[in-house]
């Protein structure tokens, strides 16, 4: 009985050792992955920073103004004016009739 116990314990120790070794290896693989991901995040962050900087650069007011002037013929963009504010009751609300096609409604509205 006692011999059996010893043998079983020895096997248990060996089994645990194998398990622990495996876990250790997995952990190291995971850590390596994390390191890789960190590096990827860093490079993506960098890329994002570049994209954001470029977005800000392309959308700088000076350039947008020049573009609006260049394309005035097509877009007709003018500075915002106070008179462009409207009242909510100035918006026409067409009466929705059931099953009416969308075109019919917009034609009927002023």
């Amino acid at each position: 009985m006692r011999a059996l116990f010893y043998v079983l314990s020895a096997f248990a120790v060996m089994g645990l050792a194998i398990w622990a070794y495996g876990q250790n290896q997995k952990t190291q693989v995971a850590l390596r992955d994390v390191r890789g991901l960190r590096a990827e995040i860093r490079s993506l962050h960098e890329a994002l920073g570049v994209q954001r900087a470029e977005w800000a650069y392309l959308n700088r007011p000076q350039r947008l103004r020049a573009l609006a002037e260049m394309n005035f013929g097509r877009l007709g963009l003018l500075p915002l004016e106070g008179s462009q504010f409207g009242q909510i009751d100035e918006i026409p609300y067409p009466l929705m009739t059931q099953n009416a096609p969308l075109g019919a409604v917009s034609e009927g509205s002023p």
Partner: protein, 591 residues
């Protein structure tokens, strides 16, 4: 150890007396003695076994621990040298709506490591082709110098230049990563942002240091590695700032002014929504500070917070407000305006002759120097000085710009009656336009002081009270009247109830006295006057309006139209809907 005899006489005699065999005693003792010897032997053997086991255990434990440690230690790969503890990280700067004002970009630096250098002369030749401003001869001398181990060629190169330098194929030329501060909007808000320069430089990183503006003031915050991912939000609005700069720029061009500045400030919180100073510069390529001439002529000079000007009639608002607040006058009180007003050998004149007397209301609306000087006489120099101190006119501004903290207002040491009278209409006290903006905010917002700031500050705890709400209400009405029937009639913007005060101050001549034909023109106001949301200050240095062949320099003809155009353009952008003019004027009626 006492050895017990095998045949103790006493016990043998006892045994004999009882008729027992004494040999039994001897055997018994012999047995005991042998058992003792055996026990001792076993103990020794056991001890040896234990020692041996411990030794083996320790041995295996050492081997096991070593194996465990080896298994647990991550493999340290020979990574590239991670820098000398220099961090180039720096937090972004955003406007109030989250648009980028300053950010970081990774670029490259170019340097030479001599121990790998194969052909320094050829490298110098090729580099001079990539960077035309490099001196090929000097570079070749440095790159072939046997005593030199390291040489910085460029601290910042573009991706194309980096590729071209790489393509030279010279193993001694190295590219290091380098963070670079980028201001994507170019000259926009240049005076607020200031600029940066490289501090300590290493091969893999370089420290970015703020040298002026907010980059300098907030340097610790921006370069804090823990907060590198948390951007700094400013109170500026990029769209508004851009319009203000555009309008100011074209105004300066049309009026042939030397320079100008404009401030838009939230009247309740003191947040600066736009701050422009022209001429301006590009913070991406910050010019060197001037070494000769007047520093105020440099584009680096921030006229809005650094420029000290005697601002002229805009200061009349404070004399009138104080006289009203002290209860010395009401808007209808008549004041003597007969000119010229002589004090000793000093003479005060008006631009026009306003007759014998005007009401306080009209003194302000028509901007009478004599009438204001009489008000200052009623107030007295001491009360006036204390009043102006409350508005912050006698100290440097506590705004987050290093330039502002050095701009100490100039005022007479002896605050005599004459100085009180001249200061009441804006001569003798030199302050910055930003001082004026904060003080005007207090005049119109109900009478509580604001602290100007460039940082986003959502909380609106009112500052100390400087005038009563009623005085503030009267002042708002007076400001509005200046536009509807006074000197700033070109400042009307339909539906936005602009109000304010003009000021045209003769520029002091460095040789003494004042110039006849050079002025600083200022418009200080707020909109909409019935419930002021924003204070607007526009200042121009030596403007001149020549439409119709008449030369005009007064603020009403020069800066007021510029300010009106600013309001017309920015108010809709800030989401302000025009109001019915009748409502505005009804709310501002005094009687």
């Amino acid at each position: 150890m006492i050895r017990t005899p095998l045949r103790p006489l006493a016990r043998i005699l006892d045994a004999r007396a009882q008729g027992m065999n004494p040999k039994g005693i001897e055997r018994e003792n012999l047995r005991l003695r042998r058992e003792q010897a055996r026990d001792a032997g076993r103990r020794r053997a056991e001890w040896r076994l234990l020692l041996l086991a411990a030794l083996f255990f320790a041995g295996y434990a050492v081997i096991g621990a070593r194996m465990g440690m080896l298994a647990a230690t991550p493999v340290v790969e020979s990574e590239p040298y991670a820098g000398e503890g220099i961090s180039g990280e720096r937090a972004d700067v955003l406007d109030r709506n989250g648009r980028i004002l300053a950010t970081n970009l990774v670029t490259h630096s170019l340097y030479a490591e001599m121990r790998y250098m194969q052909d320094g002369r050829r490298a110098a030749h090729e580099l001079a082709r990539i960077f035309p401003d490099l001196d090929e001869e000097a570079l070749a001398r440095r790159l072939t110098d046997p005593d030199r181990r390291f040489y910085w060629i460029r601290s910042r190169v573009s991706p194309e230049q980096a590729q071209a330098a790489h393509d030279i194929g010279e193993p001694g030329l190295w590219l290091g990563p380098r963070e670079m501060r980028l201001y994507p909007n170019g000259t926009l808000a240049a005076h607020v942002l200031g600029g940066t320069a490289y501090g300590q430089q290493g091969v893999t990183a370089a420290e970015i240091q703020g040298v002026a503006g907010l980059e300098y003031t907030a340097d610790d915050r921006l370069s804090d590695p823990d907060l590198a991912d948390v951007p700094l939000s400013l109170s500026l609005d990029l769209g508004v700032q851009s319009i203000v700069e555009e309008v100011l720029g074209s105004g300066i061009q049309m009026l042939h002014a030397r320079a100008g500045s404009a401030i838009i400030m939230d009247a309740q919180t003191g947040e600066v929504v736009a701050l422009a100073s022209a001429p301006t510069f590009d913070p991406n390529d910050r010019p060197a500070p001037p070494t000769e001439g007047d520093p105020a002529d440099s584009p680096l000079f921030n006229r809005a917070v650094q420029g000290l000007y005697e601002l002229g009639s805009v200061m009349k608002a404070f004399a009138v407000a104080q006289a009203l607040d002290l209860g010395l006058v009401t808007p209808q009180t008549m004041v003597n305006t007969r000119g010229p007003l002589r004090i000793g050998r000093f003479e005060i004149n008006d631009f026009h002759d306003y007759g014998a007397q005007l009401s306080v209301e009209d003194v302000f609306v028509h901007s009478s120097n004599i009438g204001t000087a009489h008000l200052a006489q009623m107030i007295g120099p001491e009360r006036q000085r204390d009043f102006l101190r409350q508005f912050g006119f006698l100290e440097a501004l506590p705004i987050e710009l290093p330039e502002a903290r050095r701009a100490l207002p100039q005022y007479p040491d002896r605050w005599t009656e004459v100085s009180a009278m001249t200061i009441s209409y804006g001569h003798g006290l030199a302050v910055t336009p930003m001082h004026l903006a904060a003080a005007y905010a207090a005049l119109v917002n109900g009478g509580t002081m604001v602290q100007p700031t460039l940082l986003r500050r959502p909380d609106t705890t009112p500052g100390p009270r400087v005038i009563s709400p009623e005085t503030s209400r009267i002042m708002r009405s007076l400001f509005r009247q200046v536009v509807t029937r006074g000197t700033a009639s070109l400042g009307e913007v339909a539906g936005y109830g602009v109000g304010g005060k003009t000021g045209t101050a003769d520029k002091p001549n460095p040789q003494g006295g004042y110039y006849d034909d050079r002025v600083v023109a200022t418009f200080a106001g707020a909109f909409p006057m019935n419930d002021p949301r924003y204070v607007i200050i526009v200042t121009m240095d030596e403007p001149q309006e020549t439409v119709g062949g008449v030369e005009r320099r007064t603020a009403g003809w020069t800066v007021v139209p510029v300010a009106a155009e600013m309001v017309r353009r920015i108010a809709p952008v800030m989401g302000m809907r025009p109001q019915d003019p009748a409502v505005i004027d009804a709310e501002l009626r005094l009687r």
